[in-house]
């Protein structure tokens, strides 16, 4: 009898845990946005660390910057909800990150073109002129 009651209690606990999980899927909050941004960031870093193609590495950097933007916007919304701090500051930061990303892409792609003209390759493991 005792066994039955403890297992029932365990089952009830599990069910309540599952229902809170369903509740959090039905009503995503700030932490879900942070998780999505973290996953995007990690995918971007994986691209930078594993790909050989310089252009795809640049695209992965854009993914990383976007993950940071998503974090900024999510926290801006959270600050708006708490009524503390300036809720617009996060959005202003995001505008500047987008500006810097555009400048970075222009310079980076200029370097890619100059490099391709001189070395005939955009594979990062063949670009080793400055490697010890």
């Amino acid at each position: 009898m005792n066994h039955l009651s403890t297992s029932l209690a365990l089952l009830f606990q599990e069910a309540s845990r599952a229902s809170t999980a369903i509740e959090s899927i039905k009503h995503p909050d700030l932490s879900k946005f942070l998780v999505i941004a973290a996953i995007l960031f990690i995918i971007g870093v994986a691209g930078v660390l594993t790909r050989r193609n310089l252009l795809v590495i640049f695209m992965s950097i854009e993914l990383i910057l976007n993950a940071a933007n998503l974090n900024f916007i999510a926290f801006a919304r959270y600050l708006q909800d708490t009524g503390r701090g300036d809720p617009i500051a996060g959005q202003i930061f995001t505008v500047f990150i987008i500006v810097v990303a555009a400048a970075e892409a222009a310079i980076g792609l200029g370097i890619v073109i100059a490099l391709y003209r001189n070395r005939e390759t955009i594979w990062v493991d063949e670009i080793d002129l400055m490697k010890w």
Binding site: D29, K32, M59, Q80, I107, D125
Partner: protein, 224 residues
């Protein structure tokens, strides 16, 4: 900030789309496919911005990233030759040892962030801010009751864009000017970087070392 109803449905659709497109960006063999997947990832993130109430940033994201930066990427992909990679004659990833080391490191990072750091930090933050959120929500509901309803009828139109513009020209005006200077420097720098030798000669701006190499080569050609 708790989404509900259709907002949460769209949240899951766009976040899964963003992550899948991001994965495919990194995995695609063809660089053009990578660029197109990155575009769809950026558009999905822009949709998440709209869900968070940042309509202006979503518009800027689509105009600047998708309309500007990604078109630049596609042009550069067209200019360089990556045929060996596309046709499967060359590997698209680094050596296996490097890839495994990177993936182990990133799996640890992902586990620490997603399982431990973010839920714990968010719980603590929520506990701290519970009263403030309740108070601010009541205040905001009162302020928003006289705003117009959106066309879909599910939310109120916000004045976010107006506030972003005002902030950009008031307290963020100095960084705004510096950003314009940065863009000018980026334009000049990329034009200087991407010039050909012929264009450098036409502008009388060739690297002295290259010039001496060229004259040595031409004098050798004269001797023979």
């Amino acid at each position: 900030m708790i989404l509900s109803g259709w907002e949460s449905v769209f949240f899951w659709i766009f976040s899964i789309a963003a992550i899948l497109a991001g994965l495919l960006t990194v995995m695609a063999r063809n660089a053009v496919h990578s660029a197109l997947f990155l575009i769809s990832s950026l558009v999905s993130v822009a949709a998440l911005f709209i869900l968070l109430g940042a309509e202006f940033i979503a518009g800027v994201q689509i105009l600047v990233y998708v309309g500007g930066v990604m078109v630049l990427f596609l042009f550069v992909i067209m200019l360089v030759n990556v045929g060996a990679e596309e046709e499967g004659r060359a590997p698209i990833f680094n050596r296996p040892a490097q890839v495994t080391a990177a993936l182990v490191f990133l799996a640890l990072l992902a586990g620490a962030l997603v399982i431990y750091a973010i839920p714990r930090g968010y719980q603590a933050m929520q506990k701290r801010d519970e009263a403030a959120i309740k108070q601010a929500n009541a205040k905001r509901a009162a302020a928003e009751s006289n705003l117009a309803t959106a066309a879909t009828g599910v939310s109120r139109l916000t004045r976010e864009t107006e506030r972003v513009g005002t902030s950009l020209y008031t307290y963020a005006s100095l960084p705004f000017e510096i950003a314009s200077l940065l863009l000018l420097v980026a334009i000049i720098g990329s034009v200087m970087l991407a010039r050909t030798l012929k264009q450098e000669i036409a502008a009388d701006d060739v690297d002295p070392e290259v010039l001496s190499d060229m004259s040595a080569a031409s004098s050798k050609a004269d001797e023979s």
